[in-house]
Symmetry: C2
Subunit: 373 residues, 2 copies
């Protein structure tokens, strides 16, 4: 690969995904620097989390082997996204900013970063699933859109490391006609319904499955943040826009919340969990109705492109349908297109977790490295 | 996309895939030229099939709307790959060669094309599944390998338009540990065994299913070219090499042929089909054995990376296994890796057919266009 000698990396966010990414980058940077034919020197020049920033004079590299303690030891206060943009734009090599937060303020600044020639790689859904004007500003500024700035990639904003966005982009770009996208886009929802109504029969009470999922670490601290369907709605917004639909925002289409009205405003997640069994009869009814039709119920998102319908919620599926047969907390995404006809192109696998999400980010980093040659 | 104004295209092969590709390119070229911000002018400057060549003086573009009649009307004789390479190397813009043949001679010339700065995009398996030295020469010369020449992409050499090779490359590149790759890699074999032993029970005699597949156009003119397993072995060779195993050639690992010894040397495919029923009892025995274990038999390829074992042949699968549940002539590819754990990353869908294969080629063309900016 005829590549540049030196690429700078800036990373915001050091939570679950951020940690995994920094581990992956340590290995990748070592490998790239040792390529005898065309070495690339990938240097971390800025590391930030909400309250702290680590950077050295003259853009000297931050040690990847000791980033955690070095960041903790830093007394430098937080920088705003625009301060970070100014700092990175003045760097003497091309810069890739990796946003491993789920922060709206950082996402709002993507157009600024891109215009300054800084590439952006991120699993953060906020920039691509918020207002349509932000989406347009991002792709309008990016070199892989219509702009002359940095490149932007966000593969892991849907399905973590699964090749969902790249596949959809290629279908559209090569002139296929995407008709329908349908799938299970949440590891939490996948786990809940695969356990609540397995194809083989059985399954527990819905409230018990939610509690089990929380105990296993498969839900947000407050499970309502999964059950409200907004996470899935954000992913659908991204895929619908890539399919050519100008979706205004993730609440501009029907999204079914699994939070009973009466529990929307209880104060804590624990109180919510304690009261959820009161509503098990409602969920059992839904289950029984599906069973009567020889089906199972699953929480899915779908995009019907010709009719411009996007929706998120419960649907019933035959036992032989790939969506019914899903296991564990896997995601599945079905692309129905003109070229593929009645049998969809299917992508399936873990759609959440630090390491596979970070892998999507690392994969995007490689795309940028190739384009920056 | 800040892209070059002008890219030249040369296409060899105008069979099923070639025709579909030329149709796709006509639409794509029109679209790219009309991009107001950064138009790309994609011009076809050479079109060749085994006996004929079409090219105009001074590399003037060949009309995409009338290529078929113009090529037929051309009286220019065939050119050798090295004559084509010389012609393209002297062109005044960057050139992408699209090889839509399954020809070994063209594949043997890839290192030559690449060294001359010509990029290569192809569904032709021959260059990547033949001798290991040819593989090394190709990737040694390519800009996306270690060389300084053109770029090479061959997504559609495995699974047609399905994102199989790009996914495997990303797993390896981002530092995941690929442990096992397993799947159904032939539309013909998929159709045959999904009909011969459906999960739901029933299914016809093996010879009858082969005849049906041939009548539906799902086999090569002589079905033995599918049943010998070599097509699958070539695909496995490619994936194993991408996984890091230096496979010498597609016959250097166990490949089970479904052609009865006695019928290997009969003169014609028709004679083969006429005598195949004599061997139905053998296949029925294999089916019954699987059934006794509550399983179905499928023709699969697998790569076990740690033990360096590659093999192609019949295997038994539980009814609930995704490989057993396959429908029609779909392919399925399971990637088992360290990051994905015990539940694989799965890619599934049509793995043969002119339009989806051509889509893989068109997708690769876009990759090259982005890299040539």
């Amino acid at each position: 690969m005829p590549a540049p000698r030196q690429i700078f990396l800036a990373v915001i966010g050091t939570g679950g995904v951020g940690k995994c990414f920094l581990n992956q980058v340590q290995e990748i940077a070592g490998r790239l620097s040792q390529n005898a034919q065309a070495p690339i020197y990938l240097s971390l020049i800025l590391l930030a989390r909400s309250s702290k920033v680590l950077r050295h004079a003259n853009y000297a590299p931050i040690k990847l082997s000791s980033w955690e303690s070095d960041l903790s030891a830093s007394s430098a206060g937080p920088l705003s996204p625009s301060e970070i943009a100014d700092y990175l734009a003045a760097a003497p090599s091309k810069v890739v900013l990796v946003d491993n937060t789920s922060n709206q303020d950082v996402a709002d600044a993507y157009p600024l970063f891109l215009k300054k020639g800084i590439s952006v790689v991120t699993p953060n859904k906020k920039g691509f699933s918020g207002s349509y004007s932000l989406w347009q500003a991002i792709y309008g500024a990016a070199a892989n859109g219509y702009g002359a700035g940095g490149y932007v990639f966000h593969e892991s904003s849907v399905g973590a490391g699964l090749p969902v966005i790249s596949t959809l982009k290629e279908l559209v770009e090569t002139g296929d006609e995407v008709r329908r996208v349908e799938g299970v886009f949440s590891g939490t929802m996948s786990f809940l319904f695969n356990s609540f109504q397995p194809v083989a029969g059985g399954g527990g009470k819905f409230s018990a499955e939610v509690k089990k999922a929380k105990d296993l670490g498969f839900t947000e601290p407050d499970p309502r943040d999964d059950l409200n369907g907004l996470d899935v709605a954000r992913k659908l917004t991204i895929l619908a826009r890539l399919s050519g639909l100008p979706i205004e925002n993730p609440t501009s289409f029907p999204v079914q919340s699994l939070i009973p009205k009466e529990l929307e405003s209880v104060a804590t997640g624990d109180e919510f969990l304690a009261r959820l069994p009161e509503f098990d009869a409602d969920m059992d009814k839904i289950k029984a109705e599906a069973e009567k039709e020889g089906k199972v119920v699953r929480f899915v998102g779908s995009i019907d492109v010709p009719s411009k319908q996007v929706k998120v919620g419960l649907e019933k599926f035959d036992h032989s349908h790939p969506i019914a047969a899903l296991k564990g907390s896997d995601n599945i995404i079905n692309f129905y297109t003109k070229r593929y006809g009645d049998k969809p192109l299917i992508i399936q696998g873990a759609g959440a977790g630090g390491d596979v999400t970070a892998m999507g980010v690392s994969g995007d980093l490689f795309k940028v490295l190739r384009l920056l040659h």
